[in-house]
Amino acid sequence: MRSGSAFMAGLGSAAIIAIGWQAGVGTLTSALPQSGASASGTSNAAGSSSGTSSSSSSSASTDTSSQAATTAPAASGAADGTYDGSVVNTRFGTVQVQAVISGGKITDVIAVKLTDADRKSVAISQQVAPMVRSEVLTAQSAKVANISGGTYTTQAYLQSLQSALDAAGFTG
């Protein structure tokens, strides 16, 4: 059961990474030990089939990417452990990902930080939490009947998405 839940967590993170945080992943790869980068191509599909539990891997975690780079063996593949990627500023906020290396392969990618630049947003995350676009815009957008946006004037209306929907409504 334990490895199953770890697998699901890994899968979820990987899916989000693939959709929204490509910039972060790119930086992560470059921050990892050289030999680890070559394993990244097969990383997500591997899931946690090796049975790595998150608790054992986090005990080996390092604080910064520079530490990770210096402690990793140079040629014989990355040492098992958890590596932090660089902090990346994206339009969705500040993002940092963490890679779990096991047996020379990335077995999990975890988002460790997704916050507004303003640290206060972390403290109030029970009320509002940062989120990425892929979490809120879904395939259902094809069926959108109305659009809520900043006030448009009569003139701006003609160029708005709402006017396109309204025009489509006359024929549909």
């Binding site: 500023n89 509002v128 940062p130 069926k143 009947a145 109305n146 659009i147 809520s148 946006g149 998405l161």
Partner: protein, 254 residues
Amino acid sequence: MSVHTFDTMGTMVSIRIADTEEGVPRQSIAAINEIEHECARLNETFSLYLKDSEISQIARGELALADSSELMRTEYARALDWREKTDGAFTPHRPDGVIDLSGTIKAVAIDTAAQTLIGSGFRNFSVNVGGDLTTFGNQSSEETGWITGILDPLDRSSLLAALRLTPDFPAVATSGSAERGEHIWLRPETTKAFVQASVIASDIITADVLATAIISGGQATLDQITQNFAVAVMTVAPDGALQANAKFQELVAR
């Protein structure tokens, strides 16, 4: 689905009726006419850009508030009540002291239009006035509720989110600091924390006022509102960073 649009208060009204029973087209024309009339009355009473409106007379000191119409006093009292509830982040007073009720009247118009449609027997409709809207029933026999997009303020040709508005949370309002909303003034102690705030609530007036208050009051007001009101909220920061509460994520159309 029939769509009716008309111009009022410097913006556009877009009403969609999804009822399919016989006789709907004829009934809808009568109801839309009545709604146009109601909007015109609100515009003539509350528009500061109309020289002869009642609120312009009050602004010039020609008419005392105590002598104004019952509609004026009712709406002023409503706006003052919202000022209390938002600790002043929403206010019906311009910095120069002039009473400006444009922050609530558009929502009042939406609410009035919805009541007119219900009174006329319609059970599946949406009323959208300049990007703020309320809904009733379902948009089609295949969809529960009304799927509503939230505009991306940084790219107005795309959407940030798609929500499903249902009877518990039928209304959404979006305010932006870059929009032409004269009723939004930043308090001196706050910065431009958000370029856009969307609030989904059980009624359009609550949604509209709270969206305005978040833009005006910033993060502190956002925190206060999510603690004190049963609403769904999403904000957009100037760099595009999004924040939303759990209720908002529940409403995302899946």
